[in-house]
Amino acid sequence: MRLLRTIWEWFDARTDASKVIGPILKHPAPPRTGWMYVFGSATLFAFLIQVFTGIALATAYVSSAGQAYQSLHWITSHAFLGHLLRGMHYFGASAMVLLVGLHMIRTFLTGSYKFPRELNWVVGVMLLGFTILMGFTGQLLRWDQNGVWSTIVAAEQAGRVPIVGRWLARLILGGQTVGGATLSRFFAFHVFFIPALIFGMLGLHLALVLRHGISEPPDARRPVDPKTYRAWYERMLHREGVPFWPDAAWRDVVFGTLVVASVVFLAWRFGPPELTSPPDPTIIHADPRPDWYLLWYFAVLAQLPHGTETYVIVGAPLIAGICLLILPLVFNRGQRAPSRRPWAVASIIIIVTAVGVLWRQGDKSPWSPAFGAQPLSAAVVHADTPQVAQGAQLFHAKGCEYCHSISGHGGHRGPDLTLVAERLNPRQITLRILNGGYNMPAFASSLKPQELNALVAFLNTRKIAGSAE
């Protein structure tokens, strides 16, 4: 113990480490910041999980388009602790996205982005952008079938940008098709380029926190006035400030430890996401889905009115980004208390609700054809003539069942046809089938008259049992 102390003193005398780090750790923080202020440091803890598990994974991952998939298989099922590490990297990413969101919501609701902390917010928005980029590039590095098709979907979206779209798409693919260059490129961005930007921005973010101090909990009686705020804040700190370490930091450490423990537990309990099929673009039976944190956007893309996509794909992220970036420049003064900012509270409720609803939709994705639908069972069909039985069989064979469900079997893209005969007569059913409609193909050219009659006969039996013919 004495030896350690001597070594430390020798080191400190030559580096002034305690004089540099001490004041940073013990900088005065406002009193009573409480548990709402732990999300920023928790995001940092999650980021550190990503850095360390990521470095470990990079020692075994092969960033070659032809071999990455096999190397991940090996990491997951053979490498010592590989299964756990991949799981931690996945749940660490999820935690980081979630915590960055909570941190932003807290900062927004308490008006902490107002004078003089505008730039903290702006840098934070950039960090949010980098976090999403890390999530997306990370999902691609799984380099299974989902990864390959997600790359193509990303390139197609970039392709919608006016004028430079095709160039952007080519830069994403690293060439003209998904291939050898694509994965190496994403790997370099995921492990070198974007993390370097995150480290830089994070340094700036923390330096700004030290420069302007942690924002005090809002008080409705004390709106922010840029002319007097700084002097008032200094006096307040002088009067009742507490040292950040350990008076405020202990909560960060408690919550951060909880985050780390949760990530390790989830990784141990549930493991990493399963790899889907190999990254072979000729395996057509693919079902590309983004990871959960972008599933809500997947739902947006599916449900846009026809013809508006290009504007939304290009415009929405642009407008959202600009709004977030200029928010503190436009509203940099006045009330910080949520009780006096009903619009701020309302906008958070609206955004969280909208994203939540879209999430559920994205998870169910009712617009996707139910390719797994099985032919209807005899109990459901309840055929009293051979024609009805044939119609039921055609209902599956002709793809109707992929989009329409009957008695709980089938897809949800189109209307449920369990009781279609209660709504439509045979003539109306025939017209729908032949001509199609909004979001329904016309089957006039692919059904023989006899097939059409059988299908209509079957659908005409879909009514409440015992109701009059």
């Binding site: 388009a65 071999q67 690293g174 050898g180 599916a302 909004y438 193909p441």
Partner: protein
Amino acid sequence: MDEPPVPLTERRKLLAALSIGLGGIGAALIGVPVIGFLLAPLFQSVARRWRAVGAVDSFAKGQTVEVRFEDASSVPWAGVTGQTAAWLRCRPDGGFVAFAVNCTHLGCPVRWLQDAELFMCPCHGGVYYKDGTVAAGPPPRPLIEYPVRVRADQVEILAGPTPIT
């Protein structure tokens, strides 16, 4: 410990300008090749190659089947990702049409349903008729066609870039 201000002499101005200028030149000497390398995909010429996908009589008239071939710009380490697929339709008159498998909405791979004679996309529910025209859902345009030819009794497809719509 206030130091007296350093007088800004002509010599100091020159030295500062020189240092900043040289720093800029150094940065450009490193930066231009690096950025050029990263932007290389923009300067590549578009590769297109005819790829044989099967003998003419191996395709039944009126049928649509998946054919697989090597990318036009594949590299040796691409492994399975160097492969591409297309839907090849042999029309009743014996002519051939090749469709890219990519949905024109956002690029997901469409599936061919033989009995229904429809292409369906698993992502956002786009549907196309057998001739590639849009039947339903969000796709803004018909399936992209690859040029097809018959040489020495082989059906050949002109492989090229992934279609970006």
